[in-house]
């Protein structure tokens, strides 16, 4: 092998080493795990928002029913058409109060909980975007580079023709260079996505942990709310079955029907109880992803992160899966 061949081989070796080094930095498992995490978090946030809104609606209904049942005498406050501020475009909020001016209880909107889950969902959305398969970048980049080589070849030909220079063989060389650049670019994009993901997951972890704790508290309160709600109908079903059992005139068929309904209620109640705290799992999975990112996504850390994401997927699947929409009779508050 002469010196030139050795140099060429050395350059190829260096390029290959650089390529391998770049590809070693790109761990698709990390990117995929973050993408999956984002999708699961988004789904959990949507579910919690729906349930929180349902509780707010229940509360509004309860408060309205209470007002009517108590024959509350509602009066208007700050409702004058030309009240102070109207001319400035800032009319006061017209409200209802009890006769004498005492405030009535307002139904909660849980707007801040919704805003936090919304922000977390948006974070998850953009993690998904960033964790996207870099194939689209690669395809677009490769096509551009290839087009660039062809254009440069054409330009070279035109210049040679204009200057009268001898025809060269620039085009094949340019295409070879373009292929190499495209290959490097592909790895660069994959590496860049992974690096950005790691940086963002690490930086966002403290606030995600804090948010997950708060939303886990909401999860707990929601579970308590629905368990108490459902308990009332379970207990009513039990009461009905007991009454029939203690009624000599009741037929076995009637008792059987009442007991079947009771078994179904108890099963639904237990299904509700099996819903674990998803936001706790979301916090844990994010912490493991951040740990994997900090340590360069080592095999052990990645395994832990993937397991955490899978566990999260398990809780999301189990979550409220067995529950049905509210029944017509209004006693089936399973969501």
């Amino acid at each position: 092998m002469n010196i030139f061949r050795r140099r060429r081989a050395g350059r190829r070796g260096a390029a290959l080493a650089a390529a391998l080094l770049l590809s070693a930095c790109v761990n698709p498992a990390f990117r995929d795990s973050v993408g999956e995490y984002g999708a699961l978090t988004k789904a959990a946030a949507a579910q919690q928002n729906a349930r929180t809104a349902a509780v707010a609606a229940d509360e509004e209904e309860r408060l309205r029913a209470e007002l009517a049942a108590n024959r509350a005498d509602l009066r208007l406050e700050n409702c004058e058409p030309d009240a102070e501020g109207v001319a400035e475009g800032k009319p006061p909020r017209c409200t209802l109060v009890l006769k004498g001016g005492a405030a009535i209880e307002e139904a909660p909107s849980f707007a801040n909980v919704a805003a936090l889950t919304g922000a977390l969902s948006s974070y998850a959305d953009n993690l998904i975007l960033l964790a996207a398969d870099p194939k689209d970048d690669q395809r677009s980049f490769s096509e551009s580079i290839s087009g660039l080589a062809t254009s440069l070849g054409g330009l070279d030909g035109a210049v040679r023709k204009a200057t009268g220079a001898a025809p060269g063989n620039a085009a094949p060389k340019l295409e070879a260079v373009a292929a190499l650049v495209a290959q490097g670019g592909n790895m660069y994009f994959a590496q860049r996505r992974a690096a950005a993901l790691k940086r963002i997951v690490i930086a966002a972890d403290p606030v995600v942990q804090s948010a997950a704790r708060l939303l886990s508290g909401v999860d707990g309160a929601l579970l308590s709310y629905y368990r108490n709600d459902l308990y009332k109908s379970v207990q009513a079903a039990q009461g009905h079955a007991t009454r029939l059992v203690n009624t000599p005139e009741a037929s076995v068929e009637d008792i059987r029907a009442a007991q079947d309904a009771l078994f179904a209620k108890v099963a639904a109640y237990n299904a509700l109880g099996s819903d674990t705290l998803r936001f706790q799992a979301i916090g844990e999975a994010h912490a493991k992803l951040a740990a994997a990112a900090r340590r360069g996504a080592s095999a052990g850390e990645m395994k832990a992160a993937i397991e955490a994401v899978l566990e999260l997927a398990g809780t999301a699947d189990a979550a409220w899966a067995a529950v049905k929409p509210k029944g017509k009779d209004g006693d089936d508050h399973q969501r």
């Binding site: 980049f141 254009s151 054409g154 950005a196 963002i200 606030v207 009454r243």
Partner: protein, 124 residues
């Protein structure tokens, strides 16, 4: 950063009392003989369970209201939104990088076409 939700002593006491009372009422309801008499232990326990379950719902709502207020005071929504924007910016930057090469290709193609036309002129 950590945002904690302060648990009011009154809420904790009420929560504990509700649990204990529910436990006691459930035990009576499990063992008592059935009776239609409203003053019977069975009917009394049944009513108590219903009322305590309603109280449990009120306590859960109160807890959610506390968390809602804590979130409002924490500024976390803005922090997570900033993290979300950062992720989007990174994704956009990568997309822009490919767009730049595409733009360059267009420029080079245009220059090539002009050069080819110029060389075809008779005075060249």
């Amino acid at each position: 950063m950590t945002t904690s939700v302060e648990t009011l002593p009154a809420w904790s006491a009420a929560d504990q009392a509700q649990r204990q009372a529910m436990g006691a009422a459930s035990a009576i309801l499990r063992d008592a003989d059935f009776s239609d008499d409203p003053s019977s232990p069975y009917q009394q326990a049944e009513q108590a369970c219903q009322r305590l379950a309603e109280a449990g719902k009120r306590l859960a709502v109160a807890r959610m209201k506390r968390i809602d207020a804590a979130i409002a005071a924490s500024g976390q929504v803005a922090e997570i939104t900033a993290a979300a924007n950062k992720a989007k910016k990174e994704a956009d930057l990568i997309a822009t990088a490919t767009a730049k090469v595409e733009k360059l290709t267009q420029v080079v193609t245009a220059v090539t076409q002009i050069a080819t036309k110029i060389t075809a002129l008779p005075f060249v």
